[in-house]
Symmetry: C2
Subunit: 343 residues, 2 copies
C-alpha cells in the first residue's frame, strides 16, 4: 500500500544539506570530495536505502553498461555456454547482459537489432541466424561507434570484430584423424548448406582432406540436413548406413548428428569404432556420456563468449577509431575418445 517512492540523490542532498553534485561525486569516490564527506554520504545512503537509478545515469551519460546478445537460441549447449562466458566477463566489469533469440529468423533478427539499439546497449555480441545473408541491420551500430562483435556465425563482408574458430582447419583435422585411423570411405553430415554458413566451411575442410589423401569425394556419402535436430539427423544416418557400400568413417558437423550416427549404427549391429569410426564437432556434454564416448572437435564456447565480451569492454574503454577490427581465432583440438579409436 505504501507507495514507496525511491530514495534519490535529491533526498540525500536535502538531508545532508549538500548539493546533488556533491552527492553524486561522493558516491563514486570522486577525488575532489573530501573523504569525510564521502563517508558521511555513503553512510546516509545506506541508512536511507538509496539505490542508484541506472536509467538516469545512462540517459545523461549516454551509456548503459549493458551488452546486448543476439543469438539464434539459448537452448543449444554451445550457445548457452557462450552466454555464460559473456555474462561472467560482463558482470566482472559491472555490465549487464540483455539476451534476445532470433530463432534463426531474419525478420526477428532485424527487429531485435533495432530493439537493442533502441535500448542503447553499450555494445552488441551477435551470432548470426541460419538464414541471415544481409547485415545492413547492424550498420547503425557501426555508424554510432557502438562496438559490435560477431561470434561463431559471422558475416563475411562486414568490417567488425569477429571471434571465431577456423572451421575449415578443424574439419580438415577431424577428417585427417579418421583417415589416420584407417578409414577409406568417410561420410559427412552437414546442415543448411544452401546458406553460406560455417557448415560449409567444415564441409570444405572435409573435402579438402579427402582430396589431399587421394580419397574420392562421393555425393552419396554427404548428408545435408534441413534443420539440425536429432530426428532429422537420425534419418540421415540411417540412410548413410544402409548404403550398399557402407562408410567406415563418419565426420559430423555437430555432436548431435554424430550421436545419431552412433545410435543408428547400434540399431544395425554396426560396431563403433570397429566397423564405423565417428567424430563429431563441438564437444557438447553429451559427447562424454554417449557410449562409446564420442571423439569430437573442441569448440571453446565459454571462452569465445568471454573474449567477445572483453573485446566489447576494451573497445568501450579505448574507442580508438582504427578502421581495422581484428579477427580473433580460437584454437580447436581433436579430442580423441572411444568412437574413433583404431582397434
Amino acid at each position: 500500500m505504501e507507495e514507496n517512492k525511491d530514495v534519490t540523490i535529491y533526498d540525500l542532498a536535502e538531508k545532508l544539506k549538500l548539493a546533488t553534485s556533491t552527492i553524486s561525486r561522493a558516491l563514486k569516490d570522486h577525488p575532489t570530495i573530501s573523504s569525510k564527506t564521502i563517508k558521511k554520504v555513503k553512510k546516509m545512503a545506506e541508512e536511507m536505502g538509496y539505490v542508484p537509478n541506472t536509467l538516469a545515469a545512462g540517459l545523461r551519460g549516454n551509456k548503459t553498461n549493458t551488452i546486448g546478445v543476439l543469438i539464434p537460441t539459448v537452448t543449444q549447449p554451445f550457445l548457452s555456454s557462450l552466454i555464460s562466458g559473456i555474462e561472467i566477463a560482463a558482470r566482472k566489469s559491472g555490465y549487464n547482459v540483455i539476451i534476445m533469440q532470433s530463432h534463426d529468423s531474419y525478420e526477428e533478427e532485424v527487429s531485435m537489432a533495432k530493439s537493442l539499439y533502441s535500448s542503447r546497449v553499450s555494445g552488441i555480441i551477435c551470432s548470426l541466424g541460419m538464414k541471415t545473408v544481409d547485415t545492413t541491420h547492424f550498420q547503425q551500430f557501426v555508424n554510432n561507434n557502438i562496438p559490435i562483435v560477431f561470434v561463431d556465425r559471422v558475416p563475411k563482408d562486414f568490417n567488425t570484430f569477429r571471434v571465431i574458430i577456423d572451421n575449415h582447419a578443424a574439419a580438415y583435422k577431424a577428417t585427417v584423424h579418421l583417415i589416420e585411423q584407417g578409414c577409406k570411405r568417410i561420410a559427412h553430415i552437414t546442415a543448411g548448406s544452401e546458406f553460406g554458413n560455417l557448415y560449409n566451411e567444415r564441409k570444405r575442410g572435409y573435402i579438402d582432406a579427402l582430396t589431399k589423401y587421394n580419397l574420392p569425394v562421393e555425393k552419396e556419402l554427404i548428408a545435408d540436413l534441413k534443420t539440425v535436430t536429432y530426428n532429422e539427423a537420425l534419418k540421415a544416418s540411417d540412410k548413410l548406413l544402409d548404403l550398399k557400400n557402407r562408410p567406415d568413417g563418419l565426420f559430423a558437423s555437430g555432436d548431435i548428428m554424430a550421436v545419431s550416427a552412433i545410435q543408428s549404427a547400434k540399431k544395425r549391429g554396426i560396431r563403433v569404432p570397429e566397423d564405423l569410426k565417428v567424430i563429431g564437432f563441438n564437444n557438447d556434454p553429451i559427447s562424454e556420456i554417449i557410449d562409446p564416448n564420442l571423439s569430437t572437435i573442441t569448440h571453446p564456447a565459454a571462452k569465445m563468449g568471454q573474449m567477445s565480451a572483453e573485446i566489447i569492454l576494451k573497445s568501450i574503454k579505448f574507442p580508438n577509431k582504427d578502421e581495422v577490427k581484428e579477427i580473433t581465432f580460437l584454437n580447436t583440438e581433436v579430442l580423441v575418445r572411444e568412437s574413433s579409436k583404431k582397434i
Copy 2:
C-alpha cells in the same frame, strides 16, 4: 569519424515545426493527433532514421519494459529452456530480458538482486541458488510493487508468485512406477540435501512411496551428492551398484544422475532394464538419446518460463494489490521409455 548524434524527437519537432509533445504522441498513434500529422511525423522519423531512446522513456515513465532473470546458471538444459520460454513470452509483449547467473552463490545472488533493482526492471523472475536460505534481498522488489516470480527453486516463507511443479508428487509417481514394474529394492540419488531444497521434496516423495507400498527405506540405498555433476553422480552410482545387496530399481532426482547410473550399470554388465530399472527427472535432451532411452519425469521448463513471464506481465498490467500471490502448479508426467520397462 562523424560523431553521429542520434536523431531525437526534438530534431523531428524542429524539422516539422511541431512541438515535441506532438511528435511523441504521433509516434504512438495517440487519438488526439490527426492522422495526417501522424503520417507526416512517421514518415519524417523514418527518413531521418529516428530511433526511440528507451532509456529516456523509461526514466520518465519509471518503467523499463525489462524483465530481470536471476538463476544459478544458464548452461543447464532445464534453465536454458526456462530462459527461452521467458524470452519468447516477454518479447511478444515488447519486453526485454536481462540475465544474471548467481552460480549458486548467495553473495552473488544478493549483489545481482540489487543490480537488477538498480536497473529498474519491471519485474523479476528468479530461481534460487542452492545455498540460498534467506531471501531478504528480494524484499525491496515487494516493497516497491515490482512483481516477482519465483520459479522451480522457490522460497517457502515469502508471499510471492511461484511457478513450480509438485516435486513430492512427481517423485512419488516415479517411485510407484518402479514399484509397479516389480522393483523391490529401489535406490535413490539426490543432491545437496543439507539445504532445504526441492531435492528434499523429491526424496520425501520417494520415501513416502516406499512406505506406502511397504518397502523398507534403507539408508545405504540413498546417495546424496554434494554437487550435481556427471562425475560425482557416476561415483555414487558405482557405489550403489557395488552393494552386496544390489538395488533392482533406481530413481534419480535428475537425468544426468540417472544417465550416470545407466553407464555405471553397463560397465558392470548389469542390464537395464532387465536387472536394473532406472528413472530420472527433467526430461533433458539426453534422456532420449541415451541407450536405453531413459524413463523420466517431464519438467515443463519452457512452459514454466512462459508462465512466469506472463504472470509478471499481467501483474504489471493490473497491479492489483491483492495480498494473495497465487502459486502456479504445472503438471509433470511419468514418461515411460526403455530404461524402466518390465520385461
